[in-house]
Structure formats: C-alpha cells, structure tokens
Amino acid sequence: MAFQEKTISLPSALDREWVEKTFGPLEGFNGGDLILDFSQTMRIDSAALCAIRILDKMYKDRGRKLVLRNIAASFLSTLGAAPEPAPAVSKEDFSFHGPLIRAGDRLIAAKETIVHALSVLVEMIYWGTLGILKKQDFRRGILGEQMFQLGYKALGIVALLSFLIGMVLALQAAIQLKTFGAGVFLGPLIGITMVREMGPLLTAIILAGRTGSATTAEIGTMGVGEELDALKTMGINPIQFVVVPKFWAISLTMPVLSICGTVAGIIGGWCIGIFYLDLSSSLYWGQLWQYLFFRDVVAGFIKSVIFSWLIIWIGAFYGFRVRGGAEGVGRETTASVVACIFIIIIADALFSFVI
C-alpha cells in the first residue's frame, strides 16, 4: 500500500510555540513523505531548527523523506551549519560482563577511598608530631585561635546539652530505682554513665556536628578556590597548615570539654536526686565517690582523645575529597558529619568491650 504524502504550510514565524503545538503530531505522522512548505516563513528559531533536524533523522530512519519546499538559502545554510550534537553514549554496560565490571569499579573506588583516608590519617599524625621537628608550616598564634574556636565556643552548648541529658537519664533511672527503694544508687549510676559513656560520647557528637563539618567545609572551600594549590606552590604543606593546628587544638580541648560535659551531666542528675527522689546532697556525692574509680575517669579521658582524632581525621578526609564547587562542599560536609557520628558510635561500642 502506498503511503499518502502530506504537505504542511509553515507559518511566518517558525518558533518554539510552533514546535510545542506541531512537533507531536508530526512525530506521530505515519503516512508517506512529509513536505514542509517554507514559502511564508520569515523567521526560524533554535527550537524549530532542532525540531526539523530531529524530524529529518526520524523520517530517514523510517525510510521516508522530509522535504523542505521553498526554503530560503539562508535557512538552509543555518540548518546545515548547526553542529551535529554529540551522540549520547550510555556508560552503563548491560552485557553479561556489565555487573562484573561495575563491581570491579566499585572495588577499585573503595580501595582508593581507604588508601586516601589512611594517607590523610598518617600525614596528620606525622606532621602533627614528628614532622613538627622538621618543618613548621603554621602561623604564629594559630593554636590559641583554634582552641578558642573549637573549644571555648563549644563549651556552652556541650555543658547545656550534657546537663539536660544528665537530668533525663536521672529521671528515667529514678522512676525505676524508686520502685525498688534503690534511689541512693542514683549518684553512682549517673556518675559512671556520664564519666565512662555519655560525657565523651555527647561531646564527640556535638563536636562532630560543629568542628567536623567546619573542617570539611573549610578545606573543601579552600580546595575549590585553589587555595590549597596556592599553599603547595608556596612550599607549604596543606595538612600542616590547615589540619595540624586543628588536630592539636581539638586534642587539647576535647578532654576538657568532655570533663565539663560530664560534670554538667552529673549536676543534672543531682538536681533530679534532690528534687525528685528527696536524696540528700551528701548522700548523692558520697555514693558517687564510693563507686566511681580512677579507671572510669581514665576510660572517659582516652575515649575523648580518640574521638577528637576521629573527628578531625574524618573532617579533613572529606574536605580533601571535595570536587565540583559549592554543591560538592555541601555534599561532603553532610557526608562528613554522618560518617563522623557513625564511626564515633562504633568506636564507642568497641571501647565498651575493651576498656
């Protein structure tokens, strides 16, 4: 059966509006050749130009012809001169080997991530300790500045949240202890929990959100703005210049913050003991000192130091990973906080078995 050809007389302005109205029906035209009559056409825009090119290709694929009748030489040259768009090539390989290749790619990417993370850790520890004897790539007064930023400015929020958590913990415990007439043990319960677990953990989580994210964002922004490259070309080690002062500042301030948080939490528990359980103050503190041992304090201290290193390491690692401008900074900062909290909680769980 012979297909019927169709002739369409085009309007004077061949523009986006024409494409919106006409492209669908022309695309779906299942007859014979399509003749587009340009005799009225005075103007053609990019949308129309691209639509005609698509139709041309589509009709050719169907074994039909798109005829451009009475087309002005200038339109014809515009149509012909427009560069051929690059073919869209799918990166996905759906062949039998596809999944294997993808799995291999992911394995290689994971290996590279681990190697990069470890290299940041090693460099941070080396340039923060032995490397300082060789070379000191940081500004005068930067340690004090960082301690103020990372430590002092976080003190209020750490103390307040720890106080509230101490109160909540004590309230929940008090209800149970009161049932068994064991309210006198509130002091040791809150004390040991805060000293060994909640003090360091809560401080670490707050600092992960505060310092970890700030570190990632700062390093990431420096990377995007070529500031890290500038440091390198000045012979300045970016890890020592940016990360090491933060490493020392957080190592020194985190245990102090952790102690402050712990004390605030214990005071929160004391408030509940006094006002809810009607305990005497001396009983609360007396029981607390009786059951709290030096090893508990050491455990809390070690945890807080290790957590501080994790925060700065993860923050720096994600900062150096930033690619692709402001969006990249935001993405890696979010990832950094999530990873930081996740790893801190895992580390805390492991510590609970070890120390």
Binding site: V67, L68, I71, A73, L76, S77, L79, G80, A81, P83, E84, D137, R139, R140, E218, T221, M222, G225, E226, E227, D229, A230, L231, K232, T233, M234, G235, I236, N237
Partner: protein, 265 residues
C-alpha cells in the same frame, strides 16, 4: 652569550582520567625570558602550568626547574625549589580567612626567620609595588577582581622568586589595569631579571610582553619560537589565533550542509 636554562619540560604527557590533555610536550625556558603559553580555550595551557609547578602528576615525561626534578609535593627537593617560584593563579587563590597583609606575608612567615618588623616592611613595599598601599588590612572578599589579582601578584613576588608563573594575569581586568599589570611584569624582568611564564590568550598582553611563545593546539605544542616569527606565519592555527579567525571546523559540518543542500534544493 648563552643563557642558562631555568625550566625544562621533556616529553610531558598529562591525563585527566582517561582523557589526554597534554601529549609529548618538550620545551626549555631560559633566564630572564618572558615566555607566553597560548592557545584556544581548553587546549591545555593551565594544565601545562600546573604540571610545571608540580600540582599535576604527569603520566609521562619530566619537569626540571633550576635543574631539579619536580616530583611530589612531599619531596623536600621539590619544596625547596618551589620556594624559588612564584605562582599567580587565574582566580588569585588568596586565603579567604586572612587579610591581604597576612596573605602576602605568609611565605615570609613560613620560610624565613625575618623579624616581624622587616616582614611588615616587605609587605608594604610589595603592596606599593602593585599599587595597593591601602589594601593591607582588608580581606580578599573586600577587594575588586583587579585588586585581588594585584594582591595575589604581590604574594607571588614576596620571596623575590627568580621564576614567576602567571595564569591568565589580565583575564577579567579592564584594559588599563591589564596594561598596568603587563608593564609591571616587564619592569620586574628588567629590574630583577625574573624569568616569567605567562599563560594567556589576551592578544594585547601577548604583543606587549612576549619574547617567545609556545602555542598549544589540541594538547600538543604546535609552534614555539620568537613572537615576531609567529606573527610572520600566514596560515594555520597560529595565524588564525592572531588574526582572530576561527580555525576551520571539522569536515562533518560541511558534509552535513552539503547533505541538506543536495537533498532539498
């Protein structure tokens, strides 16, 4: 008189992932020369500059500055050489958290034991040299693009490096400021004998400062020689570049036009 070679690039190839950006580039830059690396956008000029200062690791070839092989940034020899090199980045790369004074004094604080008083004096001198006397206490974000560029140049020059790399120094500047920057580069070469490598595609800049040019085309070194020789060429990409003509497009576009003409007219 033979001039000593300050920078030497041999068979340099650089890749981003699987994409070849530079292929088999070899060149030598002699003392007190102003070498302009030019070419169309995306031809690999900035990549070449970054590779020369050790920011990009080549897949093949070598770079020697002051007769020392440029390796990883952790290599002590490379770090020592980099102290003799100033780099002016395309987007300035001033540290956003530091004032202009602190930015400029940073290399002095890191690499010298000069008294603070002397460091401050040097910073003032460098700021005056780039005509930014009052900008010292300001943050980079408080300066205009041209001022930032000059502040970055002051930082690049603060250790009086014998070799200066400039990545598009006059990009985004008004013609007067750009010409001032060009004059400053020429003065630095004449007064201090600095070797300068400039990446640019600003014709005015090239005409006023270049001794020799290295013309990159599609990641390869297409032409190298005195600027005056380059201007004598009467065809090819270098000629097209200087006469502000678009190089001939690949043949498939012509073929496509022919196809339309043949089919429909």
């Amino acid at each position: 008189m033979t001039s000593s070679i300050i920078a030497q690039v041999r068979n340099l190839s650089v890749q981003y992932g699987t994409k070849h950006v530079l292929s088999d580039i070899s060149t030598s830059i002699v003392q007190s020369e102003i070498r302009v690396i030019l070419g169309a956008s995306g031809c690999g000029k900035t990549t070449l500059l970054k590779a020369m200062v050790g920011l990009l690791k080549p897949v093949a070839g070598s770079i020697r500055l002051f007769d020392t092989e440029i390796n990883d940034q952790d290599d002590p020899a490379t770090v020592e050489v980099l102290k003799k090199v100033g780099v002016l980045f395309q987007n300035c790369a001033l540290l956003g958290s530091l004032t202009i004074e602190d930015n400029i004094s940073l290399p002095l604080q890191m690499h010298t034991d000069l008294p603070l008083q002397v460091i401050k004096e040097i910073v003032s001198y460098k700021l005056a040299q780039v005509k930014l006397t009052d900008a010292g206490p300001l943050l980079p974000s408080e300066l205009s693009g041209g001022m930032r560029k000059r502040a970055a140049l002051a930082r690049a020059l603060v250790l009086d490096p014998p070799l200066l790399f400039c990545d598009e120094p006059s990009a985004g500047l008004d013609p007067v400021t750009a010409a001032g920057l060009d004059r400053l580069l020429i003065t630095l070469r004449e007064s201090l004998g600095i070797t300068i490598v400039v990446v640019t595609h600003e014709l005015h800049s090239i005409e006023s400062i270049a001794d020799n040019i290295s013309f990159l085309y599609d990641g390869s070194l297409f032409f190298e020689g005195p600027f005056t020789e380059a201007r004598k060429l009467t065809g090819g990409p270098v000629y097209d570049f200087f006469t502000r003509q678009e190089s001939n497009q690949p043949l498939h576009d012509e073929t496509r036009q022919d196809h339309f003409v043949e089919t429909y007219q």
